[in-house]
């Protein structure tokens, strides 16, 4: 099985590669279209800023490559947000794989909300093969200031002042807002589930 990690100007690529290595899988880091198209599984990671990342992907036509993939694709964090319709982060049109918009967390008047959300939060209403043998309310590691709203493609919900999509799924596209590569054993299980699709 060939597992590819899409290389672009985003952080956490190394962490994803190490997480694969810990479960005995060699992840090939590449931005080559042919390599990506020929993979059995594609992981689209991401830590960074939406407009810069989208611009980088567009310049290399990687946005079109990713959008047209037929094999299972897993977006992580910013990767997930870029697969959505639009991000409020610098008003960025994204790939539109999921119809969900991406919004910024806002502090309610009555209490101070810390932004970004940093830390472990639980995932609920799990409806995806990604979560096989992952119990309801499992804790995952999140670091983000923007979130995907709830919608038709929501397959996991997390609450940080409001309920939002902590995972999305549509056809062959899967995406998680948290970092499975940093979420201890439960996160490793999700990566394994993805590789077993």
């Amino acid at each position: 099985m060939k597992t590819v990690i899409v290389k672009y100007n985003a952080g956490n690529i190394r962490s994803v590669q190490f997480a694969l290595e810990r479960i005995g899988v060699n992840g090939i880091v590449t931005d080559d279209e042919t390599e990506i198209r020929s993979a059995d599984k594609v992981i689209f990671p991401g830590v960074g800023e939406a407009s810069t990342a989208m611009q980088y992907l567009k310049e290399r036509k990687l946005d079109q490559v990713i959008k047209n993939l037929k094999q299972p694709v897993l977006g992580i964090c910013l990767g997930m947000q870029l697969m959505c319709s639009h991000s409020e982060e610098n008003d960025t049109p994204c790939m539109g794989i999921f119809e969900t918009p991406v919004k910024k967390f806002t502090s309610p008047v009555e209490n101070l909300l810390k932004i970004p959300q940093i830390g472990w939060n639980n995932i609920t209403n799990l409806h995806s093969v990604l979560f096989e043998h992952v119990p309801e309310n499992s804790y995952m590691y999140f670091v983000h200031s923007y979130y995907a709203a709830l919608g038709a493609d929501t397959v996991a919900i997390t609450n940080y002042v409001i309920n939002y999509s902590s995972a999305l799924q549509k056809d062959n596209f899967y995406a998680v807002q948290f970092h499975p590569e940093k979420s201890a054993e439960a996160g490793a299980r999700i990566i394994e589930n993805f590789l077993n699709i």
Binding site: S15, V47, L113, K114, I115, P116, W120, F142, H179
Partner: protein, 251 residues
């Protein structure tokens, strides 16, 4: 619901952990990778590695070590100690660190925080502050607590957040090493007035101290070193205790 975090801190010198005796269940307690992985398996929510090596060779040694930590540890970790440039940070993040912490270098050159936040995002920039209470207020100390400044900890924290620091690691020098509890007042002042997470450090001696810092000072995370290294408090028991007391914990 977002949980409170328990963070063991490992001091590193020449690629080895400085503290860390008394671990019969691991082969080499001086090995930061093995000790870090052990804490992760016990339920630590994050790790902080503080490099106190002073030699010129440190940078190379540190990035190699960070790569090995990232390879073996499946939870997030922060690396700090002597970081003073965008290039330092770039090397450490590319090696696999999730966050970096800056202290003296940022105080002396605050625009460094702006540059780091713009380049890498606020989420991976932790501002570490060493502070001491004297003459009625909490003042910033530099160079590992050796150099006093006349700037108040709260003012510096606020400025750093405005410049893009994504988290504050606050160590009270009055409390550090006393095992008499965290500095609740200054931790609370920062945590309740800044819109970034605050990690409390210095003074942990009992499990009740952690309840106090989470419940009374509303810290987002608590950091400790020796009580974990010397097994005076073990992480699973601590997290169970906190959970019983109504503090949200990850299990």
């Amino acid at each position: 619901m977002l949980t409170k975090r328990i963070i063991p801190c490992l001091d590193i010198k020449d690629g080895r952990t400085v503290k860390g005796i008394n671990f019969e269940n691991i082969r080499d307690a001086g090995d930061p990778i093995e000790l870090g992985a052990l804490y992760a398996s016990q339920g630590a929510d994050e790790l902080v590695f503080l490099d106190i090596t002073a030699t010129n060779e440190r940078r190379k040694t540190l990035s190699a070590l960070v790569t090995e930590i990232a390879r073996h540890v499946n939870i997030p970790f922060t690396v700090g100690g002597g970081i003073s440039s965008v290039e330092d940070v770039s090397v450490l993040l590319q090696s696999g660190a999730d966050k970096i912490s800056v202290n003296t270098s940022a105080f002396k050159n605050p625009v460094l925080i702006d540059h780091l936040a713009r380049e890498f995002g606020s989420q991976c920039i932790v501002l570490a502050i060493d502070t001491r209470y004297e003459e009625g207020d909490w003042y910033v100390y530099l160079n590992g607590g050796r150099v006093k400044t006349d700037i108040k900890a709260y003012d510096w924290a606020k400025e750093a957040v405005n410049r893009g620091a994504g988290e504050i690691l606050l160590t009270s020098m009055n409390n550090d090493g006393t095992k008499k509890g965290f500095a609740l007042d200054i931790t609370g002042q920062l945590s309740q007035n800044l819109n970034v997470p605050v990690i409390a450090s210095g003074g942990a001696g009992t499990m009740e101290h952690f309840v106090d810092v989470f419940e009374n000072a509303q810290a987002d995370a608590a950091l400790a070193a020796s009580i974990f290294h010397y097994k005076e408090i073990e992480i699973p028991a601590l997290k169970n205790f906190l959970y019983q007391k109504g503090v949200n914990m990850r299990f």
